[in-house]
Symmetry: C2
Subunit: 347 residues, 2 copies
DNA sequence: CTTAAATATGCAATCGATTGCATTATTTAT
DNA sequence: ATAAATAATGCAATCGATTGCATATTTAAG
């Protein structure tokens, strides 16, 4: 009873009507070769039989899957899901399907997913590599098969690949300078793994802002971690032992908030004692008290941009030589966590 | 140069070695029919040629895709992504691939996604239906094809389908009674669309708790909406015109927090003037001040449970007659938004 | 040293849709 | 009215892997 019904095929339609299956196929694809009258008959029969194209067969034959793969570290991450939203919108317009996967920040899963996508012959892949990914062989191999591969958010220097990123350097520069303008002199930076270009760039932006404002660099002020919640607590503890610290620029919001919570519990006031700037503009950052000044990344736009570039590559409109980089502009969102020292503001 | 390389097939291996392609196929599938010596030779050659199975061909031939589809309203939602995490873990163990899709709460997309999954001949589908879904024909049709279909979170009464849900009634009952114990007498309920069984159950739980405690029901206290952020603002405005209200049980956290923000801005104190209980245990609920008392749903567990039931159905271990329901237990997480009136606590 | 049994490999059909080329039916032009 | 052009349909190969059955090879048993 719940036995899997055999689904109708073009051959069933063909037999039922006396047309050849090639005619049926063409009719269902609305080919101009087929007479309108015939199309109508075939379409009706196909509805009657509950026909539905077997994509597997079609994809096998045509060697085109009209499907792209997307690998993100974690789909629950607000930024990732905005990018996905952008990708899906664009893909929908172009008639592509999207397979979404999460690497959970591990290379092992990343490799496996890439293999699966390849086995399913997706037409191209969009990827934000995992934090663990320091060796790029699997990505290069994939690229060498001749399939379009495009990096977003976390850039990667592979011949023939496009990178779509935001200007992390500028964003971090602005964020840090904002702290400086608010009067901060001793600014800690919560950095992610420097193996990722993205975190290196944020770190560079931070340093550049200090240098430009003649504030000496202090290596003790750089806390490198995976930027998880617990790393915020660890960071806050370190800060408590550095009483001169009056500002923090964190490379993500989660860690910033976790640190602020810990500091608040331990008698420090934000922003009066220590000002905070985060990165990512997570929903919780607007809701936390004090609300967190942070960098908004145009995730949705990035998704649209990345996918449209990928589609151009797939249909041959665009050829990538060397490596190409598209840079999107982030935006500093000023909130309460940096509202101190209004006096020293230039406005 | 970036030309798509033709990928090696079993026939290439077969030609290169002089074995028949069927032997190659069996060898690559580690069939006991093939001599170990031969397997080794074939495996080596396949590596040399960079062979990778064409899943499309394999799936077409075997009529088994080893892939399941998951449709959720929105992958960014914390609860959804925990369910997905649970599903992926289980699927990984069983050697299944997972295609994740989001309906964005629209029936139109839901239908389209179901079609696409069907066209790709997934072995089964897990779905949390969209808020708009009041007509179940597309789901029944899918089910009638004889494919396993399983509902989670948002139950749906279709012959032969299993539902995996949490006990919304009990959770809401507990949540409401918690407010009552804290001394609330005039409790508003933010409800979702009553077309969804889930929200009906939460509403029933709320009513039952009031009845049990001899608190009169008041229809003016039921605010029905789609539970978006803006609905929290609307709810808060209504509350301001009902000065006797001293508690709110919201069917989700987002709306609760948005309402609390608005009330705070307008001079009301939470929990002193109005206590709040939410639903879902979103990350931001722990971080908002005051932190929100809420219902935690075991999303991860639900994902594991739902997918393992689906796999049993796929491999025929389990047969579903009528409709089967698995109920998981939610947990009340008590935080600051209900910390008033400690005196009246029984403890 | 046969014969039966067991092991290893090959052959060919199959899954369902697509498509180049061939064929037939219908128009159009002369 | 007939040749030429155009439109509509059919034939058969193809995509790549799998698998029931047939065949060949080896091993074991008598």
């Amino acid at each position: 009873m719940t036995r899997k019904k055999k689904k109708a095929t073009i051959h069933d339609i063909s037999k039922a009507l006396g047309f050849n299956s090639s005619t049926v196929s063409r009719a269902l694809n609305d080919s101009p070769l087929i007479a309108d009258k015939t199309k109508k008959i075939i379409l009706e029969k196909s509805k009657e039989l509950g026909y539905q194209r077997n994509s597997l067969a079609s994809k096998l034959r045509t060697n085109k899957t009209k499907t792209i793969g997307v690998i993100v570290p974690r789909i629950a991450r607000h930024f990732c899901s905005s990018v996905i939203a952008g990708i899906e919108e664009m893909a929908f317009d172009k008639g592509y399907d999207v397979i979404i996967c999460q690497s959970l920040e591990t290379v092992k899963r990343e490799k496996k997913l890439l293999d699966t996508l390849l086995a399913n012959r997706v037409d191209g892949v969009l990827i934000a590599i995992s934090m663990e990914t320091t060796n790029f062989d699997h990505l290069e191999n994939y690229k060498n098969e001749g399939f379009p591969l495009l990096f977003f958010d976390r850039p990667c220097d592979i011949e023939g690949c496009t990178n779509v990123v935001i200007d992390d350097f500028k964003a971090s520069f602005d964020a840090t300078e904002h702290l400086i303008r608010k009067g901060c002199k001793n600014i800690v930076h919560f950095s992610g793994p420097k193996t990722l270009a993205l975190y290196r760039n944020r770190w560079r932006g931070y340093r550049a802002a200090l240098e430009k404002n003649n504030i000496p660099l202090n290596d003790n002020y750089i806390f490198e971690s995976k930027l998880m919640e617990k790393d915020g607590v660890i960071g806050a503890q370190k800060i408590l032992s550095l009483p001169e610290v009056d500002g923090v620029f964190s490379a993500n919001d989660t860690t910033a908030i976790s640190a602020m919570q810990y500091l608040k519990k331990n008698g420090k006031n934000v922003p009066e004692d220590i000002a905070f700037v985060g990165f990512n503009n997570e929903p919780m950052s607007a809701v936390f008290a004090p609300s967190l000044t942070t960098i908004h990344q145009p995730g949705f736009e990035m998704g649209r941009m990345a996918s449209s570039l990928l589609f151009e590559e797939i249909d041959g409109t665009r050829r990538v030589k060397g490596d190409q980089v598209k840079v999107l502009n982030p935006e500093l969102i000023i909130r309460d966590s940096t509202s101190k020292h209004m006096l020293s503001e230039s406005i």
